[in-house]
Symmetry: C2
Subunit: 226 residues, 2 copies
């Protein structure tokens, strides 16, 4: 039931967007963390985030924060979950809308160079995180695993052209298990998400693999789901 609306009646309360920006580095899932220079949790690592501006929607805020840290190429970005327990920030009540972002590790390199307050930490060896951010990261990893085989999320972690081997590496890193090569190959091709460009990988030893790209008429890719 919507009650009376007396602005003075509302206790001070902040709304932020926190970003779980994940990528794959060295075949392991990793998340972008930012060093905290102030209390509380000074010296700890936290998810990058920021307050939602007065005339800004959540999606726009998430995009702005993402653009702050990395350029914004074809990043996957989607709302994850909202956290608002009264004690989660010791100073005042802060509600955070967590977003979930995926980027190829190459696109993050530029952003990370020259910023020593940002690190990329593997999910299986996270430092102690500020606030309830460890739980938020768990949530994001779970969501990523769950969506992997019914939504085209893996491509957001790869450059525009990739080999099937690279795609399989991404899946294996996310799921934490080894997959069968021929079965994986056929499953991917049957989904219709990717198509072969005629081009071949270069520079490697041995037989060069074909480069694939995302099917251009894949609805919604590049901006997230729905």
């Amino acid at each position: 039931m919507i009650e009376a609306y007396d602005p003075a009646a509302f206790p001070p309360l902040g709304v932020t967007v926190d970003l779980v920006l994940m990528t794959i580095r060295d075949s392991r899932l990793a998340v972008l963390l930012q060093h905290r220079d102030e209390e509380p949790y000074k010296g700890k690592w936290a998810l990058p985030g920021g307050f939602v501006r007065e005339d800004e929607g959540f999606d726009a805020a998430a995009q702005r924060i993402l653009a702050d840290k990395a350029g914004l190429p074809g990043a996957w970005l989607e709302q994850l979950y909202s956290f608002g327990d009264p004690g989660r920030d010791p100073r005042m009540r802060i509600v955070t809308i967590a977003y979930f972002a995926l980027l190829p590790v190459g696109d993050l390199a530029a952003a990370l160079s020259g910023r020593d307050d940002l690190i990329l930490a593997p999910l299986d060896a996270l430092p102690v995180l500020a606030f309830d951010h460890a739980g938020i990261v768990d949530h994001a990893a779970e969501r990523l695993r769950g969506k992997l085989d019914y939504a085209p999320v893996a491509f957001a972690l790869l450059p525009p052209r990739f080999t099937l081997r690279a795609l399989q590496d991404v899946h294996e890193a996310i799921l934490g298990i080894r997959l069968n090569k021929p079965a994986f190959r056929r499953r991917m091709l049957d989904k219709g998400w990717i198509e072969g460009t005629g081009e071949k990988e270069t520079g490697g030893a041995f037989r060069p693999a074909e480069l694939f790209g995302v099917n251009p008429d894949l609805a919604g890719f590049g901006t997230g789901p729905s």
Copy 2:
């Protein structure tokens, strides 16, 4: 980036929880709606909801609002999505954390009798809804469909003992398609979610069906996921 925390710097802003309480009546998905007696959207129908209290988490707020409308037996309750576009409420900025609840229609009957501000509207024949609530309902229906075959959500729409035919009716209502009886039966039994009690349906004509119940060691059932 977490900035300075000056309470005065925060524009007035409300956080509410809105409930998409769904059930199945006459083999159709239906949602609980509440009549608005005040502007804005006076006379329209809206999702039941309310402000999150100062020292209350979102889950607790959702449970409280649910208890307000119906008793709270083994209802499924889970956070759905958050909406906070600047213009969604004409008076001031309201952020709403939408929750998704499931209840057997029988448990709703008591709550609905004697309250003429509450109705149960079929999803395929919704009235005009206040605010952005139509979009929230769509979101919830989509989520329900998506979870149906990998999470034990259907049981939250049935009484503790039910026949396989009733369970199939629930699935057919949610998916909007007819299902094959033997295949459905075996899929359900193989999942291990349900187990036969020795009891039989009573009162019906013809051969009585066996009554099934949810497997007691199904983690998390009754309070939602994870």
